[in-house]
């Protein structure tokens, strides 16, 4: 964990500052600073609508007009928009505070803005937090002189499944269209018509498909853009806001979560200039209903006569204790990748001091043989190095096994910004040039899954000091790739590992790997164990290496693992869900599951404990930058007070050991006490030789999770799901020709285990003999095919009866 270091103003060389006067007060700012920003520094508020500090100026609304008696050259200017006027040395500016003419302009402009505005504030979602309302009150006249006919439009109309527009409320500030062009790159909305009939429209032929569309509802300075989910749900003044962190990916965006009557009504992007700036993705914004589905657990369950039945907490704890005691130390812990640092730490300590095992793994996903060693040695307990800001300023960024727009949307936004503003060169080592890559201006390094090592060697000249290499969680599936990353690191290439899930970095810090104790201590280092034994006041920590996730499942199948404690593990996330299911279903393994919602895994569990939702607890995520991201209690009237920490503490008590923590804050304190370790760190030894992926019949499978897919964390966010990209099977033109299919025709991707049928999308940039399909959109790819990225699959044309498609 590291704290963020902000560049102070002092670092801006004094020489670059110019002096100007606003309302008689001197201000020293870098030359070219916009007058509106310079005024903010002095605490002078200039009203505005189109201005947004993260969008290029348009100077369209004219609300921010100021007078400039001296442009710095001794001559006056005509009235100027403060949002587009750069400060010049010696410039003299007068705002409404000191110039009655400006005050009149501002009143006049507000009067103009309101003549065609419906003034339906009482039924408008923005009412109460509306810049138009606020500024009309602070800078406008009480009465309008307008008695004419207002422009009207049918309202509202859908821009997308989740966004609505009330065109009559629109003040035509173009923030939304500029967001599409300048930030997300999804310019599917545009102005149409002209004059007072100008309106924000969608294209007839292009649907508004964007992972970032919710941001436009947040920056719209009026209630013109609203989201279907939040419409008429609350009044802003009835909402209680909490600043917290998004749980949906490893970017760790700051969120503002609003609840009313202890039910979350909406989530907005928080403002963290170092991380997400003022944006977030739609998954982060709309994906908050998963905890209020009918499968939410409210009480423990125990298995009686083969069936899970409700039980009291003491009953359930007793049942768990019996099972765990019987298993002795032949027990393992699977924590999933979604826990906070505090909860993960509790599991880590529980495994070592209560269960007496090192068999613990957070990876509920496919992974390669050398990943755990790599993560323990190269990622864990490292200081913050590559940051979001670095991405924006890097000369070259190489992406491998990583699709930012889908797998860490805030990273995508920052890379796009870097590409647009600083001409950052983005190289995507991928099977095709995705839409996200196009929007980042990326150059494709066409690579079949499995050939990434070779691809990196081919662009070795790009991988020099100063380049940033971003490695996704799929990288370990490529033999030798992680070793390659280390080689480049040794050459001065900066790099970062960006997993998909929000809890993976925290799990590493907490020691949720078989060879890793908390704080980066190697299990096989006696000094590290002694250090921890002393800190924890235990006589002995298990010293033998434990089993990793796949090892535990194999051991469960063979009967050598007797019990398993799991934290919200989704079977479908695993490399082979069916095999895992079979392993857990075996009578010889006793399964205790801690989860928020009844999962597929619970079908095989012997005891199920409900645990608190993230919005009900405090905690810490660590994002891919290694930056601590605070999670706060949003909903103080929690349905379940039992966090994972609390349940584990109760189990520990019943098993006769004190876990030493009962609440997340206690867990954090306990973690901080032991987090410093200056001794040895785990060593990474490369597993296996480098080389191309296995050859054979068929084509290679490429796949990743789309940001908006069938993930259970989006349950309840139905309008969001409606705007998810339609699943397709991407193949190259040559592969399509060889197969005899045309674009849009149904094709089957199959293995001996099963098949998935999707429409073919013939993709120009696609490498030959590879098929890409989304991991979990419409069909569960891994479960159906028993195959993952890089594996060989067969492609066949789906014959349609009677010619009907």
């Amino acid at each position: 964990m590291s704290t963020d270091v902000k560049k102070s103003d002092a670092q801006v060389a004094k020489a670059d500052l110019v002096t100007a006067t606003i309302d008689g007060i001197e201000v020293h700012v870098p030359k070219g600073t916009l007058v509106i920003r310079a005024a903010e520094r002095l605490g002078i508020e200039i009203p505005r609508f189109c201005d947004h500090e993260l969008l290029d100026p348009v100077a369209a609304c004219r609300q921010c007009i100021v007078e400039v008696p001296d442009a710095g050259n001794g001559r006056p200017m005509k009235p100027q928009p403060a949002c587009a006027l750069g400060v010049m040395p010696g410039m003299v500016v007068e705002t409404a505070a000191t110039n009655e003419k400006v005050a009149k302009h501002q009143r006049g402009m507000l009067e103009f803005l309101l003549i065609n505005h419906p003034l339906d504030c009482p039924i408008c979602d923005k009412g109460g937090e509306c810049p138009l309302q606020n500024q009309a009150l602070s800078h406008g006249d009480g009465e309008s002189r307008y008695e004419g006919v207002k422009r009207t439009f049918p309202k509202p109309v859908n821009i997308s499944a989740q966004i609505l527009i009330d065109r009559e409320r629109c003040v035509l500030c173009q923030r939304c269209t500029r967001f599409g062009e300048q930030i997300s790159g999804d310019d599917f909305i545009s102005l149409s018509e002209r004059g007072a009939l100008s309106q924000i429209s969608i294209y007839a032929s292009r649907p508004y498909e964007s992972y970032f569309s919710g941001n436009i509802t947040q920056i719209c300075p009026v209630g013109a853009l609203t989201s279907v989910d939040y419409r008429f749900q609350a009044r802003p003044f009835d909402l209680v806001s909490t600043t917290t962190t998004c749980e949906h990916c490893a970017s760790g965006c700051e969120l503002r979560t609003d609840h009313r009557h202890f039910q979350v009504k909406r989530r907005l992007a928080g403002d963290d200039p170092e991380v997400n700036e003022q944006w977030n993705c739609d998954k982060g914004r709309y994906g908050f209903c998963y905890g209020r589905q009918s499968d939410r657990l409210t009480h423990p369950l125990v298995r009686r006569d083969g069936k899970l039945v409700p039980a009291s907490w003491p009953e359930a704890i007793d049942a768990a204790v019996v099972g765990l005691k019987a298993a002795g130390s032949e027990v393992g812990v699977l924590t999933g990748g979604r826990l906070t640092l505090e909860n993960a730490f509790a599991y880590s300590k529980f495994a070592r001091t209560v269960l007496g095992t090192n068999s613990i793994d957070f990876r509920a996903r496919p992974y390669g043989a050398d990943e755990a060693g790599f993560l323990a040695s190269e990622v864990t307990a490292k200081p913050m190095d590559v940051t979001f800001t670095d991405l924006e300023q890097a000369g070259t960024v190489v992406l491998v096994g990583f699709e930012p727009e889908d797998e860490s949307p805030a990273v995508f936004l920052r890379l796009r910004k870097g590409n647009l503003k600083n001409r950052t060169k983005v190289l995507a080592v991928a099977p095709f040039l995705s839409n996200g890559s196009k929007k980042m201006g990326a150059t494709l390094v066409p690579t079949a899954p499995g050939d990434e090592v070779k691809a990196l060697e081919e662009i070795a000249s790009e991988l020099e000091a100063g380049t940033i290499l971003l490695v996704g969680e799929r990288a370990s599936l490529v033999p030798g790739l992680l070793s390659k990353v280390r080689q480049y690191a040794a050459k001065g290439v900066r790099w970062a590992w960006i997993p998909r899930r929000a809890g993976e970095l925290a799990a590493l810090e907490a020691g949720c790997l078989p060879q890793l104790l908390p704080g980066g201590r190697p299990v096989n280092d006696a000094r590290a164990r002694v250090d921890l034994q002393a800190a924890w006041g235990v006589a002995q920590l298990p010293d033998s290496a434990g089993l990793d996730a796949e090892g535990m499942l194999t051991a469960a199948t063979s009967g050598s693992l007797k019990a398993l404690v799991t934290a919200a593990v989704e079977l479908s996330d695993l490399a082979d869900p069916e095999a895992a299911k079979a392993a857990l279903a075996s009578d010889s393994v006793f399964v205790v599951s801690l989860e928020q919602r009844l999962s597929e895994l619970a079908e095989s569990a012997d005891v199920v404990f409900p645990v608190a939702l993230l919005e009900e607890q405090i905690g810490t995520f660590i994002n891919w930058e290694h930056r601590a991201r605070p999670v706060e209690i949003v909903n103080a009237r929690a349905q379940s007070v039992m966090t994972d920490v609390r349940v584990l503490a109760a189990l520990a008590d019943a098993l006769g050991t004190d876990l030493g923590m009962r609440t997340p804050p206690q867990a954090r304190t306990a973690y901080l006490e032991i987090s410093d370790w200056e001794g040895s760190t785990p060593k990474f030894t490369t597993a296996g030789a480098f080389g191309a992926a296995a050859g054979g019949d068929g084509v290679r499978l490429a796949s990743w999770h789309l940001a908006v897919d069938d993930s259970r964390c989006l349950d309840g966010a139905e309008t969001l799901r409606q705007s998810a990209p339609a699943p397709v099977a991407r193949i190259s033109a040559a592969t399509a020709t060889a197969l005899g299919v045309h674009d849009g025709q149904q094709i089957a991707i199959s293995t001996d285990a099963g098949q998935v049928v999707l429409p073919a999308a013939v993709t120009a940039s696609m490498v030959d003999d590879v098929v890409w399909a989304p991991t979990n959109s419409g069909a569960e790819l891994f479960r159906t095919l028993h195959a993952g990225p890089g594996d060989l699959v067969r492609l066949t044309v789906v014959k349609t009866a009677g010619g009907a498609a």
Partner: protein
């Protein structure tokens, strides 16, 4: 008054049979100036045009040679020349007739000007409605290619030049040079924020000269006959010969080419005076965007300085002429309706101000105005004036405020009497007239 005052330069060949045909143009010495220019030092051409005192004929009167010299030649991007022929200002009617009569004069000007600013691509942006002009211009460009005046290695030199004739879609705002560039790039035509100025980052973010068609068409004669000759016409600061469009209640409306600084009195004489039995009431010196003037200003020199001193703008030298039968309320309303229709909608004061003012003016026209409406309109105009994004809005402010300045009582009469009762509309027209129905369902956007 005699026709001596005329200085046919641009219009020299308009009376020739089939003047628009390349052979006829060449027969009268056409393209000789271009041939001469491509053998010159480009900077010398810029110097020559500077020396001639030629000022932009698109309305603002910016010195053309100076504009060309702003092109940063060290910039590695291509340089572009864009000809503004969107001509949509009410009353302005000079570029369109010029292109009908002599398109090759413009093409020749384009060659010389492109060569001077080192452009290898020039675009002529023509208002979309004038299809006949577009066809004629396209034919002229094609013929020039055929003759080797355009294309690769023109006139046997190593200079390449391509010219594209682009049809706009009929929006007044696309005559504003940055909106024109957006439109040319295939975007919605709305003015761009400046800086950067087109000279630095114009078309496709490259250095671009945007000039009015008349400005560029004036160049061949300057190259052929010299700067000193050009300066013999016009006034000290407004040199040269120009096309005045005289329209309205005159006997012979049309284009009159005369030196800058010619008075309206002279032009009226040329046009045969006001129609019989009537007297001049007011006129615009430079199209609907310029404040109106009255008979008191008949002797104002129609050059940039003279008209400015009289409180108006020379603009496009479009003299719309109105006799005493005309209701100034009506003209103001019609003009304001035009601006409301043509407002691009980007900025608040123009978009909303024109919407509002039209409604107020309509009430006044119908005799349904209310006490205080005139003051309110002046106040609204003050809230618009100089605060809009581009100068389109200043155009409607100009004619409302100037009309009220000279004819306030006509507006005040609108508090009780419809304009058509004070100034029966049928009296001001030349054809049988039926008053248009007034639509009130204005508010509906769809």
């Amino acid at each position: 008054m005699s026709v001596d005052v005329l200085t046919p330069t641009l219009s020299d060949n308009w009376d020739q049979p089939d003047a628009w045909k390349i052979a006829n143009y060449v027969a009268r010495g056409g393209y000789e100036a271009a041939r001469k220019a491509v053998g010159m030092d480009p900077d010398a051409i810029i110097g020559l045009v500077k020396d001639s005192g030629l000022r932009g004929r698109g309305g603002a009167g910016f010195p053309t040679g100076v504009k060309w010299s702003f092109i940063p030649q060290a910039n590695p991007n291509p340089k572009y020349l864009v000809i503004n022929c969107d001509e949509s200002e009410p009353g302005t009617c000079k570029d369109v007739p010029m292109l009908m009569a002599t398109p090759h004069t413009l093409v020749e000007g384009v060659i010389i000007s492109s060569f001077a600013v080192r452009a290898h691509h020039a675009f002529i942006y023509v208002r979309g409605e004038v299809l006949h002009v577009i066809r004629r211009l396209q034919k002229a460009v094609a013929d020039a290619y055929e003759a080797g005046y355009l294309g690769k290695g023109i006139f046997g030199t190593d200079y390449d030049l391509d010219v594209v004739v682009h049809a706009g879609a009929g929006a007044y705002i696309c005559g504003e040079e940055t909106a024109l560039l957006d439109s040319l790039e295939g975007r919605r035509g709305q003015p761009r924020l400046r800086p950067p100025f087109p000279a630095v980052a114009g078309l496709y973010a490259s250095p671009t000269v945007v000039n009015n068609a008349e400005s560029i068409a004036s160049v061949p004669a300057i190259v052929a006959k010299g700067a000193a000759w050009y300066k013999t016409m016009g006034t000290e600061k407004s040199a040269g010969s120009t096309l005045y469009s005289v329209s309205g209640h005159v006997k012979r409306p049309g284009q009159y080419e005369a030196p800058l600084g010619t008075t309206y009195r002279t032009l009226l004489d040329l046009a045969g005076g006001i129609r019989a039995g009537h007297q001049l009431k007011f006129f615009t010196p430079g199209g609907s965007s310029t404040p109106i003037l009255t008979p008191d200003q008949l002797d104002v020199k129609l050059d940039y300085e003279g008209v400015a001193a009289a409180g108006s703008i020379l603009g496009t030298k479009a003299l719309q002429t109105f006799d005493e039968t005309v209701s100034v309320v009506r003209t103001t309303l019609r003009w304001t309706e035009f601006y409301k229709h043509e407002s691009c909608g980007k900025c608040t004061p123009c978009r909303e101000g024109s919407w509002w003012l039209v409604q107020t003016l309509r009430n006044i026209e119908q005799g349904k105005g209310q006490e205080g409406d005139v003051e309110k309109m002046l106040d609204l105009c003050d809230n618009v004036s100089m605060k809009s994004f581009c100068t389109l809005a200043d155009g409607f402010v100009a004619n409302i405020t100037s009309s009220i300045k000279y004819f306030r009582e006509e507006f005040e009469a609108g508090y009780h009497t419809p304009a058509w009762e004070l100034f029966p509309y049928e009296k001001s027209v030349y054809f049988p007239y039926e008053r248009e129905r007034i639509t009130v369902s204005e508010g509906a956007g769809e």
